[in-house]
């Protein structure tokens, strides 16, 4: 796949045009990908058992994000050879969001959030859900789905937004997601443990490199959990 990029100004124009015309104007060579993405989205809604108008009610938004995210992530990786280099290229996500499937992003966020289409590179919805799945990946879809099912959009924000100055520690984040999933759902939500763990982690990594701890990331995350009073298995 030869991934197209678009700069900020052009994507802004494209977004404005879409807002006026509501036409996706997907280029010919991207039509197959567009159809596949839309198809995955339809499957996602039917799996959850909702219509597009229900997406932003209750906790459906999160269900859409992670269930569609899992399908979308695998489609891009397995059939369109998405790489880390491509996945960290702002222009690629701007292009997908404003030129290929703007109608899909609109279904999730409406048109009042240009940040989710193009304006803030790290907030573009398709990018966010791709990275959410990548940073949570447990080796296969089934295991990843299992650890993500009880989360909310807050966990997406806390995880993906904390890129740090030097990028994501992928193995660490996958371990955090794994151990967090083992905590009691009601308790951890009440305590806002995820946010607290991520904040403490941001401070700790200034001095300690989690991968270099005796026992590696597993031990490091164990200690984070214990600090907040959670013994994981």
């Amino acid at each position: 796949m030869n991934w197209k990029e678009i700069n900020r100004e052009d994507s802004s124009d494209r977004f404005d045009e879409y807002c006026k015309t509501k036409e996706a104007k997907c280029p010919e060579e991207y039509k197959k990908l567009r159809d596949e993405i839309l198809n995955l989205f339809v499957c996602t809604l039917s799996e959850i058992g909702i219509d597009p108008v229900d997406i932003n009610t209750k906790n459906y938004a999160y269900q859409v994000d992670y269930i569609f995210g899992l399908k979308f992530y695998q489609l891009l990786n397995d059939r369109y050879s998405m790489s880390i280099r491509t996945a960290s290229t702002d222009g690629v996500w701007r292009f997908l969001s404003t030129c290929v499937v703007p109608d899909l992003v609109e279904m999730r966020y409406g048109l009042d959030h240009p940040d989710r289409f193009w304006k803030k590179p790290k907030r573009i919805w398709l990018r966010v859900i791709w990275w959410y799945i990548y940073l949570s990946w447990q080796g296969d879809e089934e295991s990843t789905r299992e650890i993500l099912k009880d989360n909310s959009t807050d966990e997406i924000l806390q995880l993906v937004d904390r890129c740090g100055r030097d990028g994501y520690r992928v193995d660490l984040y996958r371990e955090i997601m794994k151990q967090y999933a083992e905590m009691d759902v009601t308790e951890r939500r009440k305590d806002q443990v995820f946010r607290k763990m991520m904040v403490l982690n941001t401070a700790k990594v200034q001095v300690i490199e989690p991968a270099l701890v005796d026992g590696g990331e597993i031990k490091y995350v164990d200690d984070l959990c214990v600090y907040f009073g959670y013994e994981t298995e």
Partner: protein, 317 residues
């Protein structure tokens, strides 16, 4: 932005000398059609311990999207015993490790490479290892920091209680570099556009950027020159700045706008930019610090800034 204050001794230059630490120059290579080829490291600035460099493949084939990058690192610690005990950096029965902490900021990745470990009894200690970054991982640059760290904690004697004893703690940096894998990394963000009805030039400045994280590049800061403007030819952008007073005036004004915009954006963190504390290479903050500290621009007030930018170009072109 603040300096990290360590509450335990870390490795300083005299410690490096006492321990006889010698690090070999990094060697890079890549695989292409089952053969291996070297990549040259051309240092742009810095010294042996800390430098910025660009990668040059004589075959002009290597590209981070399509080829891997093999990093070879080796070194010797002749007297490891000096690092242990009350005059060292860890307790007598701790284990030290050598590792690299790397990041490729533009691909949002951060990782580690572990080279090995040693304790008080092993001497001298050698390490030698190749590490392969698979293709399509690195983007922009590779930051590589070779460190000593506490691998296993010990049982400190009373006189060793001041030493670091938490595993994973970085106790010293042996070498630090940033290798640009995509281009030189030092291109100033100027672009030409073709937009009728718009001015001759303007600055795009991303007011949502974080100057301490976001890079000084077109995504966030850009000087646009408009080909569609009737005066565009007068800019003579193909000429040098010295031969084109109008172009020089545009660039000076644009830089003024950029520095003032950074100041407004940084707000209460502006002092961190002026002092240059722990600024990440390539960020908007670091570029601004460079203008102020290395080019001597006066940021005390707007008039002084404009004047000092003009004076800088007068003196240096």
């Amino acid at each position: 932005m603040s300096e990290i204050l360590n509450l335990y001794p870390t490795l300083d230059e005299s410690g490096v000398n006492k321990a006889g630490i010698s690090i070999q120059q990094t060697e890079l290579s890549y695989r292409d059609d089952n053969d291996y080829y070297p990549i040259n490291i051309e240092v742009e600035n810095g010294d042996d311990k800390k430098y910025l460099a660009v990668l040059k493949d004589e075959r002009c084939v290597w590209y981070p999207e399509t080829h891997n990058l093999i990093v070879h690192k080796a070194g010797t610690i002749t007297h490891p015993d000096t690092l242990f005990g009350s005059n060292g950096i860890v307790a007598h029965d701790s284990v030290l490790g050598v590792a690299a902490i790397w990041s490729s900021k533009k691909s949002d990745l951060h990782g580690t490479i572990q080279y090995g470990e040693f304790s008080l009894t092993s001497k001298p200690y050698f390490f030698d290892r190749n590490y392969t970054f698979e293709r399509s991982i690195l983007r922009g640059s590779l930051k590589y920091k070779l460190v000593l760290y506490l691998k296993k904690s010990g049982n400190p004697y009373p006189e060793e209680m001041h030493l670091a004893n938490q595993t994973g703690t970085v106790l010293g940096v042996l070498e630090e570099c940033e290798l640009y894998v995509d281009g030189s990394g030092s291109v100033f963000p100027i672009s030409t556009v073709n937009e009728e009805g718009k001015p001759l030039w303007w600055v795009n400045f991303d007011n949502t950027a974080d100057p301490f994280i976001d890079l000084f590049e077109a995504e966030h800061v850009e000087i646009c020159l408009n080909r569609a403007h009737p005066c565009f030819a007068d800019l003579s952008i193909e000429e040098s700045l010295k031969k084109s007073p109008l172009f020089l005036e545009v660039i000076s004004s644009a830089l003024y706008i950029i520095v003032m915009s950074v100041k407004e954006l940084a707000d209460t963190d502006w002092n961190d930019i002026i002092s240059g504390n722990q600024l990440e290479p390539g960020t908007i903050a670091e570029a601004t610090y460079y203008f102020i500290s290395k080019l001597g621009w006066d940021v005390s007030d707007p008039a002084a800034l404009a004047k000092s930018i003009h004076k800088y170009f007068d003196d240096n072109l």
